[in-house]
Symmetry: C3
Subunit: 474 residues, 3 copies
Amino acid sequence: MPADWNLPPERFFGPESRQKATAMRLYQGIADLPLVCPHGHVDPAWFARGDAGFGDPAAFFVTGDHYILRMLHSQGIALEKLGIPPLDGSGEVERDPRRIWQRFAENFYLFRATPVGAWLSYELVQVFGVHRRLDAHSAQAVYDQVAEKLAAPEFQPRRLFEQFKIEALCTSDPASQPLDAHEAIRASGWGGRVLPTFRPDDVLDLTAPDWRGSITRLGGLTGVDIRNYGAYIEALRERRAQFRALGAVASDHAVEEPYTGWMERSVVAEVFQRALRGEVNPADAVRFGGHMLMEMAAMSAEDGLVMQLHAGALRNHNHPLWVRFGANLGADIPLRAEFTCNLRPLLEAFGEHPNFTLILFTLDESAYARELAPLAGHYPAVRLGPPWWFHDSLGGIGRYFDQVVETAGLYNLAGFNDDTRAFASIPARHDLWRRASANWLAGQVATGVLELDEAEEMAVALAVGLAKTAYRLG
Amino acid sequence: MPADWNLPPERFFGPESRQKATAMRLYQGIADLPLVCPHGHVDPAWFARGDAGFGDPAAFFVTGDHYILRMLHSQGIALEKLGIPPLDGSGEVERDPRRIWQRFAENFYLFRATPVGAWLSYELVQVFGVHRRLDAHSAQAVYDQVAEKLAAPEFQPRRLFEQFKIEALCTSDPASQPLDAHEAIRASGWGGRVLPTFRPDDVLDLTAPDWRGSITRLGGLTGVDIRNYGAYIEALRERRAQFRALGAVASDHAVEEPYTGWMERSVVAEVFQRALRGEVNPADAVRFGGHMLMEMAAMSAEDGLVMQLHAGALRNHNHPLWVRFGANLGADIPLRAEFTCNLRPLLEAFGEHPNFTLILFTLDESAYARELAPLAGHYPAVRLGPPWWFHDSLGGIGRYFDQVVETAGLYNLAGFNDDTRAFASIPARHDLWRRASANWLAGQVATGVLELDEAEEMAVALAVGLAKTAYRLG
Amino acid sequence: MPADWNLPPERFFGPESRQKATAMRLYQGIADLPLVCPHGHVDPAWFARGDAGFGDPAAFFVTGDHYILRMLHSQGIALEKLGIPPLDGSGEVERDPRRIWQRFAENFYLFRATPVGAWLSYELVQVFGVHRRLDAHSAQAVYDQVAEKLAAPEFQPRRLFEQFKIEALCTSDPASQPLDAHEAIRASGWGGRVLPTFRPDDVLDLTAPDWRGSITRLGGLTGVDIRNYGAYIEALRERRAQFRALGAVASDHAVEEPYTGWMERSVVAEVFQRALRGEVNPADAVRFGGHMLMEMAAMSAEDGLVMQLHAGALRNHNHPLWVRFGANLGADIPLRAEFTCNLRPLLEAFGEHPNFTLILFTLDESAYARELAPLAGHYPAVRLGPPWWFHDSLGGIGRYFDQVVETAGLYNLAGFNDDTRAFASIPARHDLWRRASANWLAGQVATGVLELDEAEEMAVALAVGLAKTAYRLG
């Protein structure tokens, strides 16, 4: 083990020396550009007050990050031992952050050659100044160092936000929940640009837990008595306006299958009534979901919220685990996704609308070259989101470029978003993306596909330009 | 921007110096071999008369090439502004080729790192001698230069055909259309080998636009009164003979799904009668299509026409655009394709027939290693066509080799075809293929998988030999 | 052609010089480690007696290896000409091993750039000391050399087993067949560790040829009168115990689709009764198969046999060929496979069980990153088997690492198994895997993803450690 833990300055660049030099040159041109973060899951409450803190190292790094919990759990480590309490309060839960950290450190080797490992290394070395590789032996010393930093004023959320040079940070906010934190940020006068994103799965998915409760809350937030489908649509339109008033630029929709298509108005109204009475069958829910994506696209064409569609995650695959611990514990598993037929109704209706943008995300990489790039390479409204979730790795980014650019070109991409709930991973993820972008472009230069000046322009576009354009964050 | 626009002599070769040297050596052995073009969409009328011309630069490069229209449209440029008139004659259409060219030039950067960009660069630099990179500033000067060349005798179609060293050029010809141009070429005494390909989708697909009209025309062309299924089969057999008489070596079939299987004779006869009366349901059409592929395979085993199957394109995905402008405007989107089960009936019936060859094409790259290579690596009749359409890129060719050769070997491949309607792109596409082939083989040499003499033989096979063998163009 | 045929010492390593040096260093650390072979199809009878032999060169290399027969057949060489007799005894079959060998040698070029070619080269050069490349000219001289070796005492199966440094060799043994060879090995006192694997497809798949006969044989072997479902379960449990008594560490299940799910006890009992009467419909068979995987998982959780699941091969795709020649002649073709939904019932029931291990194999590489790595990266019970069958190539191994490690990490993999029935290919396949592993890890080091000490540990894990852990062969 090396005495000093440092990150190689040329990491993530291919080994051939001229290509590496080009990659470095391209990277240096974008490394220090501000971070544009148009999609993610950071908690806005961290920025609501100037004096908030992030908690202890275990809470900050381990307990809240399902990427990490997933891997540790896969090797048989009980979630209780990582500080996750069962919902029913049963059993013994580790409360000592130092012991949780020790367990994490002992198993840090599991993250070798994974993107999580790369992000964690960046965070520890670059953000926290740790220079001993994390393992069983160094665990407690590293804990001390991280804990000390987390307690310091310059590691308060707003300070880190500024230190990271974040130009805009969009969060994900359920339609049926108040936007208190966002309102508090606005009211505080702090200049950081933290924006809500309209995420209405809770009120669009008839099978969502407590859908009726969410409808009631949506009614309360909008002052609309949601007694029928017409009122429901009115409430959604009003809620979107409220999000926009707080700076929202986008909506976000998570679906298992990206099915779209209009239902007859009378039929959808009747299904809605039945849903209000708690009578929903799965086929209704699928058709209703597809119909509501059409409605949402229509509203986006009208109000300009960029529409994001994240398709293909089967949530809470491990039902017993979900019952015991709740959601977001790493048991979401991807599905095959079909876009060509599923999106056709929506794209035929809105794909040429000049005020409509649809950003597509997939967990099924086989759709990149087959369906997504061809759709983005035809429909003016479509942009391709960056590699998502399981694919936001060095290899995943390379596969994405290799498979989408040849058909969609670069300018039908939506740039990068970090999609993270781990705040300290934001600069790590942008850095990985920028390095991977520089490396891919350098490969194109090295093979005579691009000239250097073209690659330089494209690197800047990938780092910030495309995201700002696609999300109208200009 | 460089003052002089040239193509790097070592373009498309990997950067490592010894591998690059091997690639160059392999490429030099095949760069000047004649071009064998067994599948494409070039208009044979260009060669019917010795004095034909290609028109202005905008018509030649932009208006007729759906690869280019697709990308420009995806960025919101109206088709009318590119010279494409709506079918109903409404609206204002750009008629000035210089303005269309200017728009194209301003957006030429969209094609960076795409195969279309690589082909266009080759055509402008190598074929038209342009040495200023195309952009807003150079647009009109480049237009002048291209226009001047297009007006010169040595740029007439037959002269370019000879200059490109085309050994054989197979076109795609609907079964229900006359072969006037091919007859005129034969009659003219010109020595260029331009051959028709039997493409009967218009008469096999019961859902094709104006299927009944096509049947009437097929009857007229063959002198068969197509009153029933038996007569229909007779007419198809006769039409194939007419194609063969003009030199055809292959048939070509485009299907959404490669479904195959016999129907009962009485059932198929009844479905055919209903179709003649205009009574077709989608399920009938699918079963009928699958049955007719069996009939076509049977005829191929008999008459020796090599059977090509292009599976997996959903045509005219953007229905409103299709209604407004017509087909072939870049709105065809790939679908997942299943070959293992779908092709089983056909392969069980004809897969071992010594006079039958089936060449398979896919838009679903996930089928390469999973289904296509195993099928080609077992059935004597099966050969794999080269990467098709969205995948005929530098990266796409590499993925194809990586995924099919390990199971199918090299000698179950059908070599290359350019599949283009843009005549000037033929040498560009062959050059890209030959460079990509040389590069892939050089990689195998560099990793000790192949010896150099083996790679040299394989390079020649990929450039010309496999295509000639598979298509019986010897 | 080179006068001397040798294998480049740095074969299969990427060309960049520093990466290549790292790969070589990593490879040298694992090249001579013992071979752990937890899954394969070697005939245990070879080891039952000390004086057994392997037969002539054609029998040893050609006739028994469906990888080789497949490729030769795909180029139109009749199986009879390769020594394979039709089941009905009709027709002329080549009996002369020298003529079969000559045909093989003349077509050896077909295996260029395939893994079969790489293994054969290794076997001929490294195991048999052949130093003239195999072709039409060298064929008979090579035959002589190979035949001489095969006749020598040091090429008897047990001697080669020892010479190859095989630490454990697991075979595949149908549940309904006696384990005579394994008993004889035990009784002989020879120290080689040859272990049976419980493969119950013959008694679990209601559509298997002669299922009822297999049930009768299972009853005979276990002393259970299998009159009903309860007795069937009892017999299976007893048979597993018999396998374990002979050292079995695993079961193995081959399915077209990895469907799992409990049936009602009364329903499954009734389906079983009907099956005993020969009345089975395909839907029953699918549900019964899915139910029995649940039963098998339950028994594995109890008795500790590691459960292997090989999903996605459509066996005997070429039905006429199968009727004529029988199974295992290269006409098995992969299918798409769905794991996320299909495995959910089994994983919800047993995925967290501390005594249960499920090792998954796919022929559908698109499932690697999308489904398999996420499942292995969550469920403690799941490990991913190495690239299987059509994907056990240099490229296939690279794609596997690229697509699974980023999500599953390295430590949720099951290491390597050679899965071969060609005994002499065992060291060839392990060597290819070890070189490919070293090369992939070297690439990670070269791009700064891993440090060298990490890569060294991981190389050893990939060569032996992960397989021993996953299969409990410690």
